[in-house]
Symmetry: C2
Subunit: 333 residues, 2 copies
Amino acid sequence: MDNNQYKLAIVGATGLVGRTALKVLEEKNLPISEYVFFASSHSSGKELVFQNKTYIVRELTESSFDEGFDFAIFSAGSDTAKKYAPIAAAHGCIVVDNSSAFRMEKNVPLVVPEVNPEEIKNNHGIIANPNCSTIQAVVPLKALDNKYHITRVVYSTYQAVSGAGRLGLEDLENGAKGIPPKKFAHPIYNNCLPHIDVFLENGYTKEEEKMINETRKILKRPGLKVTATCVRVPVTNSHSESINVEFEKPFELEEIRETLSNYPGIVLLDNVSKNEYPLATIASGHDEVYVGRIRRDESVENGLNLWVVADNIRKGAASNAIQIVEKLIEYDM
Amino acid sequence: MDNNQYKLAIVGATGLVGRTALKVLEEKNLPISEYVFFASSHSSGKELVFQNKTYIVRELTESSFDEGFDFAIFSAGSDTAKKYAPIAAAHGCIVVDNSSAFRMEKNVPLVVPEVNPEEIKNNHGIIANPNCSTIQAVVPLKALDNKYHITRVVYSTYQAVSGAGRLGLEDLENGAKGIPPKKFAHPIYNNCLPHIDVFLENGYTKEEEKMINETRKILKRPGLKVTATCVRVPVTNSHSESINVEFEKPFELEEIRETLSNYPGIVLLDNVSKNEYPLATIASGHDEVYVGRIRRDESVENGLNLWVVADNIRKGAASNAIQIVEKLIEYDM
């Protein structure tokens, strides 16, 4: 194998994130010479067309990684990750896992390449891709934390049904026809559901807890004061977020705009006189995080309100994982 | 005229709020002996069936109030209110106005009957009905302010298209067919629009400013620290709100639940172990404010997160106005 040519496995290749990963990989020109696509026995045997070539999806088994891979992107849920990611890692494959299985493990880097790429170097075979709603939030927050030191964050999210996979999309589509939901606890059609992932003892959902804990880990601010309300909205794709931030240091709004627009991976879309602000329909299909509705929150010292939108399947999952693989290649790991 | 029988005018009777007002009036048994329905020249002459009787909608003119009314409910926008409410008041008619025209006027009570009914007695012929998103927020906030003294509020709203009237509903329906919006600046279908009413110099929308200022006025807390992000979501009816509150005094969550459930006009729906929380589809068609997802916000001292949902056309407009009329009758004004 050529020194600059890598072998990549995609686990969960037939799911919503897996298929988007293939699309993103087709758009990029990575030095990967061999791709292998895995899925559960349920989906193995299916055909996938990738880079004008037809691939047969293989069944994921305990010996799948025996043949040797450089990298694997896992988008197959926590149970699959817990079982197979350590096997892959033991065979020298670096796993980028989209599930929540390893995110809070001390020895597992939790990476957004625009925010903490250097963490990639500390991996022990597994790198965790953060939760979709966290990824898009921490990109602008990191830009601002660097400069003004964040003291508190209040998140309220507006999350698309694609975050719940195909069944989520089906629930919205079927809901319009009066068909009861299968994935969600209540109809998502004509509703905003303040319920993503399971409820915990303290009344928060696991999604809310993920946003809180992952924000702290990625920003390397373990004691950062964060709270979250995570809400599913009847939108097909791209999450929107209302973010209220408090800073230690004073700021000028123009300075904030400049800081954000100069930060990698951010598109500043903030011209309300022309009705320009981030929207799900604008972000969908793109890898950037869109930031707008930037205004001072006069209810607190050094307070700011932001509206942040990104494609949750691309930047929130597939694209972020592939950006991590790009960094692994760049770092020659 | 019988001493206990009143004469009521509905101005803007053919609009979304006006028609809902008729429905709410049919459900109630108010001591009203005569109803007259007004609209602009555009809609006058239309027939309305009310209490099994057919009424012809009259054109609103400067002499409409010459015949003498006890009360008028205006749901016809600010321009109509500014022109005709003073005329009605000059003829001894007490106007309950749904528009924003008079809400912040010093001599105009801004009333939510569960919160500040006594203000009704200070009217000089015009009483303002607050903005829909404010009404549902201040009911639980007042219950909690009484007991714990609120120090700060952060609002993020999820507002239904019915708040923008029939054209808003049409934009959502047409959007599903790919037809561009007429009412909204961008497609509301598959989008969350962080843009309700016009933008102001400070980057806030007028809707956000209304929530901030009206909350202060209704709670009689002129200096209260409040910020808001108001968002239109692709939901037909009922607004949802993520409310983050800070209190001066410490609290127990069970005490909060008890306080809310004992407060008039609130339905506590907060049993996450059974997936019970407020939803637009649950609140629609009802006059109560639904409160749930009650949990401590650990990111600040005495912090609380709430999820609040109400029918924006009923409690947020028509029903609140009619409740004010009921109070006027009760107070014999």
